[in-house]
């Protein structure tokens, strides 16, 4: 079989864990860059049984709409290679009950909250933002623009730079001027940088990259679509390279905007990829289904991964993969060492 080609440098055996994990972006100062991904953590309560929900950067809640919503028929999910397809249809309690129960619980618990909002029209997004503004008790808004736009024959807002911008504009107008607003973008577009440009110009503080990719599974037994909703959103490690590419491209175009990265993060080195590509913070989603402690575990693993590479703070690692190629200077990690274990397979 394979033989290790490189010997691990001594720094790896006893990493100093004094890495400052503070994530400072968009006016926020979070003790950890780890967030939950919207729709994969409900409103944090269930996960608090597995780890201290206040120990991570924050909870991004499941997208809330104005009215209670039953969601779609079942089956709502199908397992796929290194991922899953889901078609939940934004089941939720509606904004009033969300505020009374979920947001109240998060505040009582002392968790930091990013509220994800969704709507069928730009006006609905605006009304939700207005109501939330009056209530307070959260750190930021994530705008889920990957919903069908009723006014545009069901095309999702996120796929059209003009409708994406309209939603962001109305949310911005109805929010406190200092409230950070993140637009969550879909990768199912020709040029995600164009959409990012559009929402930033419309007033978004930053972007969340990425939402699920539209996919489909046909059940070989029934020979019909596996999901009641026919198509669904693909998530999990299968989409990670797509997500890293999106973060990279948007970071390259906008060196200074806040970016929350997500898409198949399962380990500390996965999270590191996003940070190096330009994410200021990261969300963990589908991996929670595999390991309910994942956001907390990955925080620890990321801290170790940063220490091993000689970083003393998370901030130093953000966008580090974009640095110019420099042949005279050694990288924090020993120059002949590749950080990817797969290189072990290149032997003899």
């Amino acid at each position: 079989m394979s033989r290790a080609l490189f010997v691990k440098p001594s720094s790896l055996s006893g990493p100093a864990l004094s890495v400052d994990m503070t994530a400072s972006f968009a006016g926020l100062e979070l003790p950890s860059p780890m967030l939950t991904a919207s729709g994969c953590a409900a409103a944090g309560k269930e996960l608090d049984a597995f780890f201290d929900i206040t120990a991570i950067g924050g909870v991004v809640t499941k997208s809330i709409m104005m009215q209670p919503r039953s969601g779609r028929a079942t089956p709502r999910m199908a397992e796929t290679p290194s991922g899953m397809l889901n078609s939940i249809g934004l089941q939720g309690p509606g904004l009033d009950r969300f505020i009374e129960e979920d947001l109240a619980w998060l505040n009582n618990r002392g968790a930091r909250t990013i509220v994800s909002i969704a709507g069928e029209t730009a006006e609905e997004f605006g009304k939700i933002a207005q109501r939330l503004r009056n209530v307070g008790g959260f750190e930021a808004i994530e705008v889920n623009i990957s919903c069908p736009n009723v006014a545009d024959r069901g095309q999702v807002f996120a796929c059209n730079p003009v409708s994406a911008a309209q939603v962001v504009q109305v949310v911005k107008r109805n929010s406190d001027a200092r409230m950070p607003i993140f637009a969550k973008l879909s990768p199912d577009v020709t040029d995600i940088v164009e959409i990012a440009d559009s929402v930033i110009k419309a007033g978004a503080t930053g972007v969340s990259l990425i939402n699920t990719l539209l996919g489909m599974v046909i059940d070989p037994v029934t020979m019909r679509p596996a999901l009641a909703g026919i198509t669904g959103g693909l998530s999990g490690p299968a989409i990670r390279p797509v997500a890293v590419r999106c973060v990279w491209s948007v970071r390259q175009a906008f060196p200074d905007i806040p970016i929350i990265g997500m898409g198949g993060i399962r380990s500390g080195t996965d999270a590191l990829e996003f940070i190096l590509a330009g994410a200021n913070a990261v969300s963990v989603g589908t991996s929670i289904f595999n390991d309910p402690s994942a956001p907390f575990r990955i925080h620890g693993e990321l801290q170790v991964a940063l220490a091993e590479r000689g970083f003393s703070s998370l901030a130093d690692a953000v966008s580090y993969a974009h640095r110019p190629v420099d042949t005279t200077r050694e990288d924090p990690i020993t120059s002949e060492q590749s950080s990817d274990d797969d290189w072990d397979f290149i032997s003899e």
């Binding site: 009215q67 039953s70 028929a73 079942t74 397992e79 939720g92």
Partner: protein
């Protein structure tokens, strides 16, 4: 609040039982607090597995103390690559386990007459239940049904636990030729049953609940729905259930269930969103 644990379990034994596999594993902390009808989830295929979703298994037997501390048994029916992988585990292998999960069966306060109904390996959670019902002085009559003899699970074991047992198979290879619904009405009358507990496929649960409701007998059904998380966050395992206020909601089988009152589940509407469901789409407005 109920306690849920995430532990690393050691496989103690994997043995065949008819069409199924029974796996014994250490479950420190979980075995001690598990109640009848609760389940565990197991991650499939190790840390780098391409199978991201855990599989859920009813807790079949528990031993709260012994050489290994708390241990428990689950029953596995191989019907996909995850369960195949699990059936190939051997002694000393480790499994990532979460539990105990879900709403357990509720037990009667007084010694009443109970009928327990299991379909296929759906009988798995009924053994601990039968034990606890007997401990409370209840009469326990069991009905086990399956398509064919080798798909019955635990007939001998349940014979020891129950007052009496009736077996049905679709093909007549064991017991009464037919299904559990064919024998249940007469049994309910004969033993003057106060409560029916059932676990098995949806079609069977639907029939059992219908019979119990018709005969004005309280019923509790443990459903098996496809789950992604098992802990209440993903919203994939929902089904339409009528609440105390008479309103139908799409509720989670994992945390609100898997045990539901038989007369509250809208069995014929499972897999759909009934029009009068709380938050249902208004026709013509939503996709």
């Amino acid at each position: 609040m109920s306690v849920t644990l995430q532990v690393s379990s050691e496989v103690l034994d994997v043995r065949r039982a008819g069409s199924y596999f029974v796996i014994s594993l250490t479950a420190p902390g979980i075995a001690e607090i598990a109640k009848p009808g609760q389940f565990i989830t197991i991650a499939m295929g190790g840390e780098e597995s391409s199978m991201m979703l855990r599989r859920s298994f009813a807790i079949h037997q528990v031993q709260s103390r012994g050489v290994y501390g708390g241990t428990l048994d689950i029953v596995v029916s191989v019907h996909g690559k995850g369960t195949k992988w699990l059936s190939e585990r051997r002694r000393h292998d480790t499994l990532a386990v979460v539990g105990p999960l879900g709403t357990p069966f509720s037990l009667p306060k007084s010694p009443v007459s109970c009928v327990i109904v299991g379909g296929g390996y759906g009988s798995a959670p009924l053994f601990v239940l039968a034990e606890q019902l007997r401990d409370r002085g209840c009469r326990v009559d069991a009905v086990l049904g399956a398509s064919t003899e080798e798909k019955l699970f635990g007939v001998l074991e349940l014979k020891r636990l129950a007052t009496a047992i009736t077996v049905t198979t679709d093909d007549g290879s064991s017991g009464f030729k037919g299904n559990v619904a064919d024998v249940l009405p007469e049994l309910i009358d004969r033993v003057n049953a106060d409560v029916v507990y059932a676990c098995g496929p949806m079609g069977m649960l639907s029939a059992v609940a219908e019979i119990a409701t018709r005969k004005r007998v309280f019923s509790q059904c443990s459903v098996e729905e496809a789950m992604a998380c098992g802990i209440g966050v993903c919203m994939t395992c929902v089904l339409p259930v009528i609440g105390d206020d008479g309103v139908t909601r799409m509720v989670r089988s994992c945390t609100d269930g898997p045990t539901f009152r038989g007369d509250r589940v809208r069995w014929s509407d499972v897999g759909t969103i009934p029009e009068d469901t709380y938050g249902a789409p208004v026709s013509g407005v939503r996709s």
